[in-house]
Symmetry: C2
Subunit: 264 residues, 2 copies
DNA sequence: TTATCGTGTATTACATAATAATACTTGATG
DNA sequence: CATCAAGTATTATTATGTAATACACGATAA
């Protein structure tokens, strides 16, 4: 363990968290040995830590297969999160109204490092499962929400982000060309909104407007996803964008308090 | 620490989890000393553990106030949970359809010990914030979902549950009389649905139907919340119930796999 | 100003509690 | 029924987490 030679750092706790992080969308249940493999911990450590997490109710254990799964406590953590995030409480009623007016999927995304994370999702139409689940993190550069938030940053930061932030392929249409992305971001600087197409899901279009803090920087965005089969860029700008901007603007002013965060 | 004198139990990890659990709806951000007070740990321990959680990205720290808050990682845990719960994937598209048809708030609740926990929520109308947030745990006996699930249990278990499970006051109308609750549960045994009124929120009515596993026991319920101002029991039974039951029945058959869980 | 408090941060000597190795148990597979 | 992999249990050793304590800082008030 090459972690901090720091007496204020509890290695066992950190290792336990590694077990928790071993679960994701493609690893939804894990055996002891899989856990060991994924965390890089030896069998003994994995055994002790997994046992502790099970006893403490953080991991369910299937008595037949002996495999571990996230417990309901993982949902309770989301519950606690929601009460701690002042944005959500402000935004929720407005998002519900918006989703009713538009009759299309409405999302609330927050900036989280170089990713965005979906904090609230209000699906209106059948859609892919992954598009209905909160807590999904996506590379900011590949999403309309990320780009429109980035567009509120000073030019220097924008440049650095477009050059350095990660990108990943999700569909054959995911933009990998950073110049292309730069153009999209700079458009968003000018327009105050961003539209993306087929970045995450084929034939999906997304439009996003920023929720701007008192310093002029956005830290979140309201986003709407529609099918490219029934919508065009022009129709989105004409019919969705105005309501989306109203909603985002209605949420923004409530934010005097800025949350300055300690670096880790 | 009176916890297990067990070599397979890592106390430091368990203590770290206590810090996480210190956050809830009425404690959304905590200072070091508040954390110490709420967890019962001494200052040193709290300091080390909180620091570790911060370094590992589980707690954000406001650099001004020095207070800790749940980080985005708490939402990511919900994301991982969703992929691990086979019910959610099955139910989601049907719930979306249902919510569109009814134009009323639709919830998916799972049994979790003697509580129910909201796993998915699709708000359609403006409502209280707490009613839009997933991960909320409520005493099963005080909810239509809990009662209708309980109604699928054998008589002996039903009796024990009605006598022993916890109840809490939420509104002046929350039923505290266990005989009253027993009657409600026994009605649900007969009817296959449960309706409650004003249990969690005044002037709110809720109707729930069970999602039944292969053994005949329900482990979840589909629930719909409406305003008592515009709905009556009769109208709910006539207009909402049939669609609710269709949805719940459509979800049930997919469940061959039963998840037997190890006791902690 | 100086004093006192509360709170957050840092350091250290010590022994507890986490560790890694190993042995045991189980059940699946050929 | 022999073999192997995976889960479970036990133990001696010392690394690691611990509690005590000291320091830093800001707020409040005399």
């Amino acid at each position: 363990m090459k972690t901090k030679q720091n007496t204020l750092y509890v290695g066992s706790l950190a290792k336990g968290l590694r077990l928790l992080r071993a679960f994701d969308e493609s690893h939804s249940e894990l055996s002891l040995s899989e856990l060991a493999a994924r965390t890089g911990l030896d069998k003994s450590a994995t055994q002790r830590l997994a046992n502790t997490l099970h006893i403490e109710g953080m991991l369910d254990k299937d008595s037949g297969t002996r495999r571990f799964r996230p417990s309901h406590a993982w949902l309770e953590m989301a519950y606690a999160y929601y009460w701690s995030d002042p944005l959500v409480g402000q935004a929720m009623p407005k998002l519900i109204n918006l989703s009713q007016e538009l009759a299309e999927t409405v999302n609330l995304a927050e900036m989280s490092g170089d990713h965005i994370i979906y904090v609230s999702r209000l699906p209106c139409k059948r859609t892919y499962f992954a598009a209905t689940v909160i807590g999904r993190r996506l590379p900011a550069l590949s999403t309309s929400a990320g780009r429109v938030i980035l567009a509120t940053y000073p030019e220097e930061e924008r440049r650095a982000a477009v050059d350095g932030w990660p990108i990943r392929v999700f569909t054959p249409n995911t933009t990998l060309d950073r110049e292309n992305i730069r153009a999209s971001v700079e458009n968003a600087v000018h327009d105050g909104y961003a539209i993306s197409q087929g970045q995450m899901i084929l034939n999906e279009m997304a439009v996003a407007t920023p929720i701007i803090g008192p310093d002029g920087r956005a830290f979140a965005a309201v986003q709407c996803s529609v099918s490219a089969h029934t919508w065009t860029r022009e129709k989105i700008v004409a019919e969705i964008l105005p309501k989306l901007q109203d909603a985002a603007n209605a949420i923004s002013p409530s934010f005097q308090s800025q949350r300055a965060l300690d670096g880790r």
